[in-house]
Symmetry: C2
Subunit: 293 residues, 2 copies
């Protein structure tokens, strides 16, 4: 997914590994559960978006390490909690036992909680006054993106909708919050790290983020139907088994594919004004829709 | 607990009520579970510490509302998660059904998650550059105080220790992280809001916070033995029922009382250099050891 010369997934792996070398205080088992859940897997889409957006706007990769790690820690915490028996009850994640299966439920709850805290700790690292405002902005974007009007709110709607009929608008709202908000936030945090806090470029990037967030979820629903457990690293067919409303159940497979392609076009149009600087973001959009896992 | 002219518990109630008037996006049930868990109960010790420390050092109450609300939101999130069946499995909290009993487990997990996010959202509110550094410092203190080397780490040790023999040193370490860290953090955040980020006054306040954090936990253990379910608002005798190590089980009731009194003296000595400005902090220390609920 990296541009020529960039290997963001490799970079974020080493940044995350460093961030998870935690002080030897408290519970070794808790720290181990966090490392188990974060390291060694995942597409790293959200940190890649932070790096790609930030560098497109002139930020140095070093200025993007903390926000990139923060969005991935948040993403992983949400997976750990979503997999819990009281939530989606998934035994498999990224091709391995989910956190509460590898450890236990209490440890998984605490690991998620501590990963959220660690994300904000990274963003709140000491900074000179000019940088403090950018870091504070990033923390605000992240907190808003994952709270009641974002990720947590979307997951709550998702749970409430199991076994019910959702129409396309309600499904879209749910996904915009549950998955879209953190993807859009990752793009906006990359922009904030580059000092782009408002204006037309930020608005174009928000539109791009919204489009790929939606495309990502549609493709996820498609893969749940067309993929195998081995290829997608989680239990295939789980949505149908849980009677969850999906894009494929509402629009059919071809309809869902057409919708994903439409969002890809929307994403590319949004970043057209960036010109050559937006090339990597365009490639990421292609990847989101073209991915097989 | 307020000083003459201050009613911090009333102030924080209204600040929390305002903070929990959340945008009508996402799940109404989730927002309701958050309001249910936060409003209408609790001693509000941690926000009171923020206000008392901050005003002792010259901060205006308005500058303390966000950090005061943030520490209480975090405290409540930790109670909601600790009460879950996979953790301490408590049905009663603040004299009412705990969150997962009043709602359901999934909602309780998400409510805790969203309360943590909301705490950081409040701290990361837009600020002028000078204030941005203070807010970033407060966010860092909070994140450190509740992660693996703080609250979450302590809760993990607590769960691992059920049914085991802990010696007094291990018990002390567990409580220093589980309960003490957030109490100490509340004091330090009040100081940070007043611009006191380092130096002897901050060190004295950290010592004060550590002492009352410990005293608070010892008193909690005493009340679990001497109180009734009605008086303490949670199930009395729960520690013994869960075979949890406590100060009273290790030191006896008189020994625990002596230890609480010793921590009270330590707290008062630490803030003696503040003189009259420290009067409210001294009263809070008295309250922590003298409380019956």
């Amino acid at each position: 997914m990296g541009a020529a010369g960039h290997d963001w997934p490799a970079r974020i792996e080493s940044v995350l590994d460093r961030a998870l070398r935690l002080p030897e205080s408290g519970s070794a088992r808790l720290r181990e559960a966090m490392r188990y859940s974060v390291l060694g897997g995942g597409k790293r889409l959200r940190p890649t978006l932070v790096y790609a957006t930030g560098t497109a706007l002139g930020a140095a990769p070093e200025a993007l390490d903390d926000p990139a790690a923060a969005v991935e820690l948040i993403h992983v915490y949400s997976l750990v909690h979503d997999d819990l028996p009281a939530m989606d009850d998934d035994d498999l994640r990224r091709g391995r036992p989910s956190c509460h299966r590898a450890f236990d439920e209490a440890t998984a709850i605490l690991a998620g909680d501590a990963l959220q805290a660690l994300a904000f700790e990274l963003l709140a690292a000491p900074a000179d006054p000019a940088e403090a405002t950018r870091r504070l902005t990033m923390a605000r974007l992240l907190a808003q993106g994952i709270g009641t009007a974002g990720m947590a709110g979307g997951q709550a709607i998702d749970l409430e909708s199991v076994g019910r009929q959702l129409d396309l608008t309600a499904l879209q709202t749910m996904h915009r919050l549950k998955t879209g908000a953190l993807i859009e936030t990752s793009v906006l945090m990359g922009a904030a790290a580059a000092g782009v806090l408002e204006g037309p470029t930020r608005d174009a990037l928000r539109e791009y983020g919204a489009a790929i967030g939606l495309a990502f979820q549609i493709q996820d629903d498609i893969l749940d139907v067309t993929g195998t457990t081995a290829s997608i690293g989680k239990v295939a067919g789980a949505d149908a088994a849980h009677a969850k409303p999906t894009y494929t159940s509402l629009m059919g497979l071809d309809g869902a594919r057409a919708a994903a392609t439409a969002q890809l076009a929307r994403a590319r149009t949004a970043i057209a004004p960036l010109g050559a600087a937006g090339a990597e973001l365009a490639r990421i959009a292609d990847f989101v829709v073209g991915r097989a896992s």
